[in-house]
């Protein structure tokens, strides 16, 4: 019974959202507000029951002496609450500094190890068919090389108006990079359209199947 009720609620809310096809209306607004409110409320509950209670409160309540280091994050977290008032906001500066410092260190280190260096290494490819693994792979690697250099040239903003062969080559690379970027944006847009079509199909399948029972 509860499942049937949930299906009806979900179906009605889905139709309320699709009513936006006609125009902006109160039904669409109601569904939007319900979605935002329930998401925020659910997130707060999850954070309390999945993070704060099991990872901070319970260790301190079970064995406060042995788990005394947990006091430090608790203190830093409480100091963050002082940011709510302007007169006491300075008390939370140390917490913010800690968060930003640790976050920046992890982000830079992770980006170097996980993205930057491996991707630089991945762009160092052979353009010769015998070493690239065939003519098709060689063409693919040539496109990769030209696209990478062209995109880097496009973002070389200090090119200026210098004359000479080097500047002309840079301009040509910049033009190539612009086209590579346009193709990339087109691919991103196409993928996004495909994603939305998939979501539409999922909703229609829900309405026809779970709600109306027309599709098995």
């Amino acid at each position: 019974m509860s499942e049937l009720f949930a299906v009806w609620i979900a179906a009605i809310l889905t139709l309320m959202v699709y009513s936006y096809l006609f125009a902006d209306n109160p039904l669409y607004r109601l569904a939007q507000h319900l979605f935002v409110g329930s998401s925020v409320g659910y997130s707060a509950v999850v954070v309390i029951h999945n993070v704060l209670r099991p990872r901070l409160v319970e260790p301190l309540l079970d064995d406060a002496t042995g788990n005394w280091p947990y006091v430090l994050p608790l203190l830093l977290g409480l100091l963050l609450l002082t940011k709510a008032r302007g007169t006491t906001a300075w008390l939370g500066n140390s917490s913010v500094a800690f968060l930003f410092g640790v976050g920046a260190a992890l982000a830079i280190g992770g980006a170097l190890i996980g993205s930057l260096l491996p991707q630089i290494q991945a762009s160092w490819v052979s353009v010769l068919p015998n070493t690239a693994g065939g003519a098709g792979a060689a063409v693919n690697n040539i496109l990769l090389t030209v696209g990478t250099i062209g995109t880097l040239s496009y973002f070389y903003f200090t090119m200026g108006a210098r004359k000479g062969p080097g500047s002309g080559l840079l301009r040509f690379g910049s033009t190539v990079g612009r086209w590579v970027l346009l193709i990339t944006f087109g691919a991103i847009f196409g993928n996004r359209v495909m994603a939305y079509v998939s979501l539409l199909i999922e909703r229609v399948h829900f309405l026809l199947g779970d709600w109306l029972g027309l599709v098995g």
């Binding site: 991707q119 991945a122 199909i201 999922e202 229609v204 399948h205």
Partner: protein, 511 residues
């Protein structure tokens, strides 16, 4: 103006007489004692400051015959200074100016310092550098002779017009000041009344001009009201323009609703027909194959970490992926740990996990575990992995046990990048990913990095889920939806073509 010499009439403000050529200005006129403005003869009051130039009761004709010399006028006036006027100094007294007295008081030492030592000066004598040059001696001697002659002139020769300036009691007037104004207290005009000028008139208030009565004709008010109503009314397009706009609006609305209907039909009709063309014919990408092969190669009981990083908005793409891969993983008999970097993802993944686990007879806590939400910042995945594997804080994981595979379901590229940069890179964990179609362009470079194998396998969107279902031989909702997806894509391509043809056709016709 009239020339005082020959009586000829001249234009006002003439400087010289047109008849006799005599100068008509200052030399023959009167200079105002208050503001030094020169005036032609015959003017009673100063034209600049308003002060009287001649006393009241005296006509310009009675003025001294020729007031050509201002010095003479001054001497005449000095001669009629009242007896009670303060005399500056006694006659015959040695007149030494203050600056000269100061010079005399300079001590001898200072004089010596200034280089005056050696000059034999008696008291009262001027030094050589103060003596009058010889070229000015004649001029000064003439001036002193003239002054002596004037001093010798008897006091009785005061002109009548100056005598008239002497204060006198007015008969019948109680208050003299009321009649002639306050008397001057200092200067040459001390004791004389009536010297204050007439207050000049700055401006006169403008006289109101009576408005002439207007007698509108009959119907004028009606026309005015009609004009007013026309002006106030907002501009309305003409009938033809309004009709054309209505047609254009209707056409745009029709095109929009036709597009909606075409897309809706492309989605609904294949679902209602239950076609399975894609199930039998669709090709499978290399990324999906690689991911399937990686899972297929996992030994039974291997530890697999699965992260469900999506929210309800993108769940329509991600849950079919998760369902297909989890079916395959549990079919291989591996142990699963599930987490999520989004709060909603924890609940959504738990539903799928329990559903698939029930199908495969998995028991919670022994063969699969859901650890819920992990904070989606850099420290979240890093600390989670460090604690789970290195310190073995969960009973599910043995100390030092390695993760055989990590499967990431990312609704956005940020989540994928977090796991890649904080876990896969530093710890070298084998990783495969299922991403939404939106995140695919950002994930694909990691998959194509053949040297580092950052992503062993990659599936994208609902299509990737369908590919995985087809590989694993378990038809699910993704494969069912593929016919609709294909038809919609074909419809979109056709609509784009038709729209471009219409657009460029309109440009050719000049619209």
């Amino acid at each position: 103006m009239e020339c005082p010499h020959c009586g000829a009439a001249n234009k006002p403000d003439s400087l010289f007489c047109g008849e006799c050529g005599e100068f008509l200005g200052t030399p023959k006129g009167i200079t105002c004692a208050m503001c030094d403005t020169p005036h032609a003869p015959g003017i009673t009051a100063c034209t600049q400051c308003g002060a009287r130039l001649i006393p009241p009761g005296v006509s310009p004709a009675e003025l001294p015959l020729e007031l050509g010399d201002e010095a003479a006028v001054t001497d005449e006036v000095e001669g009629v200074v009242p007896e009670d006027a303060e005399v500056a100094q006694e006659p015959g007294e040695e007149t030494v100016p203050p600056w000269l007295k100061k010079l005399e008081a300079v001590p001898a030492e200072e004089v010596a310092e200034r280089g005056l030592e050696g000059e034999d000066l008696e008291r009262g004598e001027l030094p050589e550098w103060l003596e009058v040059p010889t070229e000015f001696e004649d001029m000064l001697s003439e001036a002193s002779i003239a002054a002596d002659e004037e001093e010798a002139a008897p006091a009785e020769e005061i002109p009548s017009w100056l005598e008239a300036l002497r204060p006198e009691e007015l008969e019948g007037v109680e208050d003299i000041s009321a009649a002639a104004g306050p008397a001057e207290a200092t200067g040459l005009l001390k004791g004389i009344r009536g010297t204050l000028g007439i207050e000049p008139i700055l401006a006169l208030p403008r006289r109101a001009v009576p408005v002439q009565a207007v007698s509108p004709s009959s119907g004028a008010y009606e026309r005015a009201e009609l004009f007013d109503s026309v002006v106030r009314e907002p501009a309305r397009p003409g009938i033809e323009l309004a009709q054309r706009r209505r047609v254009e609006k209707l056409a745009a609305s029709t095109v929009r609703w036709m597009t909606y209907l075409i897309i809706a039909a492309a989605v609904v009709v294949p679902l209602l027909l239950g076609s399975n063309w894609s199930e039998a014919n669709m090709s499978v990408s290399a990324g999906a194959t690689a991911m399937y092969d990686t899972v297929e190669a996992l030994p039974q009981g291997a530890l697999v970490l699965v992260s469900h990083d999506y929210d309800p908005g993108i769940a329509g793409e991600m849950i079919p992926q998760a369902r297909a891969v989890l079916h395959h993983l549990m079919g291989r008999g591996v142990r699963l740990i599930s987490v999520s970097l989004t709060p909603e993802g924890a609940r959504l993944s738990r539903q799928v996990l329990d559903e698939v686990a029930e199908a495969h007879g998995y028991s919670y806590g022994e063969e699969y575990l859901s650890l819920g939400y992990v904070v989606a910042v850099e420290a979240g995945p890093r600390s989670f992995f460090e604690g789970l594997v290195t310190h073995g804080w969960s009973d599910f994981v043995g100390q030092g046990e390695e993760i055989a595979l990590m499967v990431e379901f990312a609704g956005a590229p940020e989540y994928l990048r977090l796991w890649l940069e904080q876990v896969q890179g530093p710890y070298g964990v084998p990783m495969a990913a299922g991403v939404s179609a939106t995140a695919d362009p950002f994930a694909r470079p990691y998959y194509h990095n053949e040297g580092r194998r950052q992503l062993i396998g990659l599936i994208t969107g609902l299509v990737g889920a369908a590919e995985y279902e087809r590989l694993s031989g378990q038809a699910g909702p993704a494969l069912t939806a593929m016919d609709s997806q294909s038809v919609v894509h074909i419809a979109i391509v056709l609509l784009i073509l038709v729209g471009n043809v219409a657009y460029f056709g309109g440009r050719v016709r000049g619209k």
